[in-house]
């Protein structure tokens, strides 16, 4: 069997060298849990795209599947680990990062990746989120921001833009939204990127860089919820969603340029947009490294 596997890998490597990619069928064969299909996601939902991007990033770095753990909390996005054929812990709402902390500290050799939603991450799980970032624990967090509580039917989230509609904000949301990536950066995460899913390769590249970063990586993906968000906020179809993202986001470099050079009135409008791109990338000791050094110092 080992021989066969080796052969298969060699063949794949060869094709990858020729075409630059493995095809969807191969991805499915290699990475997905057959017993879990069909998946639960609505037509047009962005979460499937997030899965595809993640698998491609894993393929790029040839991740060791027997040495990888995916974790999640609760929500549509948190169902993702169920579909990937690796060890996985589908935990309680908001707590995945705390579970992940125990996993990673106990066995630092494991690759630890978390899927979370906006509500899961910065709503109920906010405290774990800022502390995981502060510790710079060597894990990768892929956060699906759909601006809403999808799984429970479209209630307002801490990320819902002011004025948007939700089942629990039927007259329009009166609260300002949270910026998860800003929070991750200021709390101490060492790799932070945000993309909307209209970008074909950048999000995959960021996931890959996140997986490679030795510290807390946070990749926020703006993802359409075609059911719970779109209906209430009259985003007609996926085309309109793409326009919606165009209106509300701006590449980080452009944003910074505008901040410096655009006239006051224009800036007031631009200011509200979400910066996308690789927002932070620095090298810093991870929690695991610091712990191990301490053990070496005090061990008997």
């Amino acid at each position: 069997m080992a021989e066969e596997q080796k052969f298969e890998t060699e063949e794949k490597v060869e094709r990858k060298q020729k075409t630059g990619m493995i095809n969807a069928k191969e991805l499915e064969e290699k990475y997905l849990r057959k017993g879990m299909m069909p998946h639960i996601f609505c037509t047009g939902c962005g979460i499937g795209t997030v899965l595809g991007l993640t698998l491609r990033a894993m393929e790029e770095i040839d991740m060791d599947l027997d040495n990888t753990v995916f974790l999640s909390g609760i929500g549509c996005s948190s169902r993702l680990p169920g579909y990937i054929d690796v060890d996985s812990l589908h935990t309680t709402h908001g707590r995945a990062l705390a579970f992940a902390t125990g996993v990673k500290i106990t066995n630092p050799d494991l690759n630890v990746v978390i899927f979370t939603g906006d509500g899961d991450c910065i709503g109920i799980g906010g405290n774990h989120f800022i502390h995981a970032a502060r510790r710079n624990i060597d894990i990768t967090v892929i956060a699906v921001n759909n601006y809403i509580y999808g799984m429970t039917g479209g209630q307002v989230a801490p990320t819902t833009p002011e004025g948007d509609y939700a089942t629990t904000a039927p007259h329009g949301n009166v609260e300002p939204p949270f910026d998860m990536s800003e929070m991750a950066m200021s709390a101490g995460a060492t790799y932070v990127a945000r993309w909307d899913l209209t970008k074909p390769v950048q999000p995959m590249k960021s996931i890959k860089e996140g997986l490679e970063n030795k510290g807390m990586s946070f990749i926020e993906l703006l993802s359409p919820c075609t059911t719970a968000y779109a209906r209430q906020n009259k985003v007609g179809d996926i085309q309109e969603f793409w326009e919606w993202y165009d209106d509300r986001t701006m590449l980080a470099e452009e944003y910074e340029f505008e901040e410096e050079f655009s006239p006051m009135e224009e800036w007031e409008e631009i200011k509200e947009k979400m910066k996308i791109g690789v927002l932070k990338h620095e090298e810093k000791k991870s929690l695991g490294e610091r712990m191990q050094e301490k053990i070496e110092e005090v061990k008997i």
Partner: protein, 386 residues
């Protein structure tokens, strides 16, 4: 990964063979001897000293200590650590125990071995932080939502606190389940002489011996305890999906079917309740000719012992029964005793908790000697109910 469990190293870190220590330290020592190599904690009186001792000793023997941001996180980190292969624990008191309830349920549902030491204090809410109580003994079994079977042990002196901590780890591994060690502020902060055992019998996790394809992570076990499945540690190729949702034997969500849920939960409950008799640990005194018996547990049993002696001096035909196992509740023992005596007196530091379980299974009259406020009973206060 956290290294091989090394008893000699643990003993070296602990130090002298005889020590005058308090209950919290005894919990930490017992844990290290049992092979615990991960502690995820959050400070709370009167349990903080357990975390402090673990923070001091674990790194010395290559183990991991982390202070989490809250108790929701500390119990979560312990579950994560257990799946990554360590014997893992946390310790807390009432307010923290309340916060942990959701993930204790997750540990039951995911059949995750772990140990939780609860150094009880008076509640509800912040209550009397420094004073002891026994107010969480029902919460252990009924605190998290849904159906599950708890295992909870209750020592009454410091040596026994150490010994039952070791036993807690062994039961957690044997039954793939969370085990609760229930002490109280009185024991946590009381000092007695303790002998560090030379030899320690430990139960090691049963790992699957089959291929990942054949491995059944949430069904009946192939070996070991029949209703306890083997534990496929993360990183060993089993690719287990662990979820708090109702799941089938393979671990995949199966949330819509009555039978799936029934099968899963009944097996999880029965793997423990089927062994009720084996799990029951009871101390009996003067029961042969007893007409009345005092039932107690933990620190309260020391007052009950005083009441037994005093009552016997006065010519009362008294007996004494101490529950070292609180859960699964030793209902068979209660039934048997209640057929021999005329009256049972339950003494506990709450307004009646285990009393209700005793009353449920006793055939005779049951009285309650309750006490709250942070002081233990005087023997007289128990005798007043005799």
């Amino acid at each position: 990964m956290i290294g091989e469990i090394d008893l000699d190293k643990a003993k070296k870190a602990i130090g002298d063979r005889s020590q005058f220590i308090h209950g919290d330290t005894a919990v930490a020592y017992g844990a290290l001897l049992a092979g615990c190599r991960f502690f995820g904690g959050y400070p709370i009186t009167p349990a903080s000293e357990i975390a402090e001792k673990m923070a001091e000793l674990l790194p010395k023997i290559g183990g991991k200590y982390i202070q989490m941001e809250d108790e929701l996180g500390s119990i979560a980190s312990v579950i994560g650590s257990s799946w990554a292969g360590a014997k893992a624990m946390t310790a807390t008191s009432g307010p923290g125990f309340s916060l942990m309830q959701e993930n204790i349920g997750f540990a039951h549902m995911s059949e995750t071995p772990l140990v939780l030491a609860n150094v009880q204090r008076s509640g509800p809410s912040t209550g009397q932080p420094t004073l002891g109580a026994q107010g969480d003994v029902m919460q252990v079994q009924y605190g998290s939502h849904g159906d599950f079977a708890a295992i909870a042990l209750s020592p009454n002196n410091i040596q026994e606190t150490l010994d039952l901590t070791i036993k807690s780890f062994n039961l957690a591994e044997k039954y793939r389940t969370p085990v609760m060690l229930m002490i109280s502020a009185d024991l946590g902060h009381m000092r007695e002489m303790v002998e560090i055992p030379d030899e320690v019998e430990t139960f090691e996790r049963k790992e699957p011996k089959v291929s990942p394809e054949e491995y059944i992570p949430f069904g009946k076990g192939e070996y070991g305890k029949e209703k306890v499945p083997e534990f496929g540690i993360f990183g060993k190729g089993f690719r287990t999906y662990v979820t708090g949702l109702t799941h089938d034997e393979k671990g995949f969500p199966a949330t819509d079917d009555q039978e799936d849920h029934d099968n899963l939960i009944r097996r999880q409950v029965e793997k423990i309740t089927d062994d009720r008799e084996e799990l029951t640990d009871i101390e009996r005194r003067r029961l042969d000719d007893a007409e009345k018996v005092i039932i107690s547990y933990g620190i309260t049993s020391r007052s009950a012992m005083g009441a037994l002696k005093e009552g016997r001096n006065r010519g009362e035909k008294l007996g004494y029964l101490r529950l070292k196992t609180l859960w699964p509740f030793p209902k068979h023992v209660i039934k048997e005793i209640s057929e021999q005596v005329d009256k049972i007196i339950v003494a506990e530091l709450n307004l009646g908790q285990i009393y209700h379980k005793v009353a449920e299974h006793a055939e005779c009259e049951v009285a309650l000697a309750d006490k709250i406020g942070g002081e233990v009973h005087s023997p007289e206060e128990i005798l007043a109910e005799v």
